[in-house]
């Protein structure tokens, strides 16, 4: 059988795009970008993290355009990112410079600086709040005013507090290995294809921009037995870190001559994982290692799951899928996975006809043999 090339569909596609716009507009409601930014923090943070582009404003715009579809919003952001020049690389951001708004530990109740809950859903009742149906600006304004008044008596601290890492005092006790600063320039997976085995920097970059659901699922799979990591969360911290860049042309570079350009909000997690190591007498000994997770915005589940996967991939083991870096790293990217899955719905007429032909041929052969 011969194949017949066809073309067409242009008018249908144009009509379909119009229909899409109609679906967005037919309710005759307009959501402002600032409304999305102010009221949908979780979505905005997730889109920024998965698209690997920190811009709450553009993330809100992408959510509006995509009508709330996360995969579409991330795709839009990634596409937009590819149109922009990258003019600078930041100086190294050290997480100790974070201005913390939330910081907790599941390993110790008494941590230096204390446990700061900050804003969290952790202790809320998961019951629908029907009062929100009739929410109105005057009441909200009143609530905000009352809240500010409640806080009015609080004296400002004399100076800003920066928190030490929980792990630091454990390192001082010798319970965790102390690593010298490794300043090897990181791999940039947006410029270089992933080669296996990967470097640690490439792994962390893929994990931090992974799809929240995929990273969480694989982290969960590891806990359930499809991996060998079951950590205790040493520290979760959420807050803002400052970003500095060097002057592009000045010959003499000093820290004092850098540009401060602003700050970004991140969630950072250190998970403590017990591992067996051989001591000098070749006996098994327990030691702790750290799984590291971080992502844009406040997304603690993703950052914790990332810390599990980081630790899994530090100890590759072909017996467990979550310890296989090809399995993990090649399947968690939102644009790659949703793109590949959704391409299946696009016309595959020729390939499918070819498969049908093969089956018909096989069936004819079988019938001949039977007769």
């Amino acid at each position: 059988m011969g194949y017949v090339p066809v073309k067409g569909g242009t008018e249908a596609i144009e009509a379909s795009i119009k229909r899409l716009k109609y679906e967005r507009l037919k309710g005759q409601e307009i959501i402002a970008i600032n409304t999305i930014r102010s009221t949908m923090r979780g979505m905005v943070d997730q889109v920024m993290s998965e698209s690997s582009l920190y811009s709450p404003y553009l993330a809100a715009l992408s959510i509006k355009q995509a009508e709330g579809s996360m995969e579409e919003a991330v795709f839009l952001m990634r596409a937009h990112r590819s149109t922009l020049p990258r003019n600078y690389y930041s100086q190294t951001v050290e997480a100790e410079t974070m201005l913390v708004e939330r910081r907790i530990s599941a390993s110790f109740k008494d941590i230096p600086g204390g446990q700061l809950l900050g804003p969290t859903y952790d202790y809320t009742h998961r019951l629908l709040d029907f009062n929100l149906i009739e929410e109105n600006p005057t009441e909200n304004q009143q609530w905000l005013q009352n809240y500010k008044q409640e806080l009015q008596h609080i004296e400002p601290f004399k100076e800003l507090k920066y928190f030490p890492k929980v792990v630091e005092h454990l390192r001082e006790e010798g319970l965790f290995e102390v690593y010298e600063a490794d300043n090897t320039p990181p791999i940039d997976i947006t410029k270089q294809n992933l080669d296996f085995p990967t470097s640690r920097s490439a792994r962390l970059q893929v994990l931090t921009r992974g799809q929240t659901g995929a990273v969480t699922s694989l982290g969960y799979a590891s806990l359930r037995g499809y991996g060998q990591v079951h950590p205790t969360v040493g520290e979760v911290r959420v807050g803002s870190v400052p970003i500095y860049v060097e002057h592009p042309n000045e010959v003499e570079h000093g820290a004092e001559d850098e540009f401060y350009i602003g700050e970004i909000k991140v969630t950072e997690v250190e998970s403590f994982v017990p591992v067996k190591v051989k001591n000098e007498n070749n006996e098994d000994e327990l030691e702790f290692e750290i799984g590291y997770g971080i992502c844009y915005g406040q997304n603690e589940t993703k950052a914790i799951a990332m810390s599990i996967l980081d630790q899994c991939l530090e100890h590759t083991n072909s017996d467990f899928p979550t310890h296989d870096e090809e399995f993990v790293l090649l399947h968690i990217d939102s644009v790659e996975s949703t793109g590949f899955i959704s391409h299946l719905k696009l016309p595959h007429y020729v390939t499918f006809q070819s498969k049908l032909d093969s089956i018909r041929q096989v069936k004819k052969g079988v019938q001949k043999n039977e007769s």
């Binding site: 993290s49 690997s52 582009l53 920190y54 811009s55 404003y57 922009l84 020049p85 003019n87 600078y88 930041s90 190294t92 951001v93 201005l99 939330r102 008494d110 204390g114 446990q115 809950l117 900050g118 804003p119 609080i154 004296e155 400002p156 601290f157 004399k158 100076e159 800003l160 690593y179 600063a181 490794d182 300043n183 090897t184 990181p186 940039d188 640690r200 920097s201 490439a202 931090t208 970003i243 500095y244 002057h247 592009p248 820290a255 004092e256 001559d257 540009f259 401060y260 350009i261 602003g262 970004i264 991140v266 950072e268 250190e270 750290i290 590291y292 971080i294 992502c295 844009y296 980081d310």
Partner: protein
Amino acid sequence: MKRRRRTEILIQGDCSLARSFAKTIVDSYECREIVAPQYGLTMIKMRESAKNSLFYIGEVLVTEAKVEIEKRIGIGIVVGMQDELAKHLAIIDAAYKANLPETAGWKAELIEEEHNIIKQRAKEQAELFETKVRFETMEV
């Protein structure tokens, strides 16, 4: 005042300060726009605390502008889409590079704004400490 400290103050503080400094310069000197405020990316390099190594967390959208004053080029870079602030920062940067006399008079205002920023942030942090857990050991 060095660039790091003054950009911290001008970006974290009230943007009217950068506007008024820039206006003082534009009113008295010829200011040539080299690059109008434009959007671009900065890749963020981080140090992770497990193995103490470096990696890229992702990019941040920035606005960048460049101006020339008295043959010195000033750069303004700021996170987000902030055309006006980027241009003001570039003008102020050029003014410092050209060592214009006006810059000497800005120090006091910058230091005052720095105090305001720290005070405001310290107040916000103190308010957040309302969510600090005070554990009580229970009698069993």
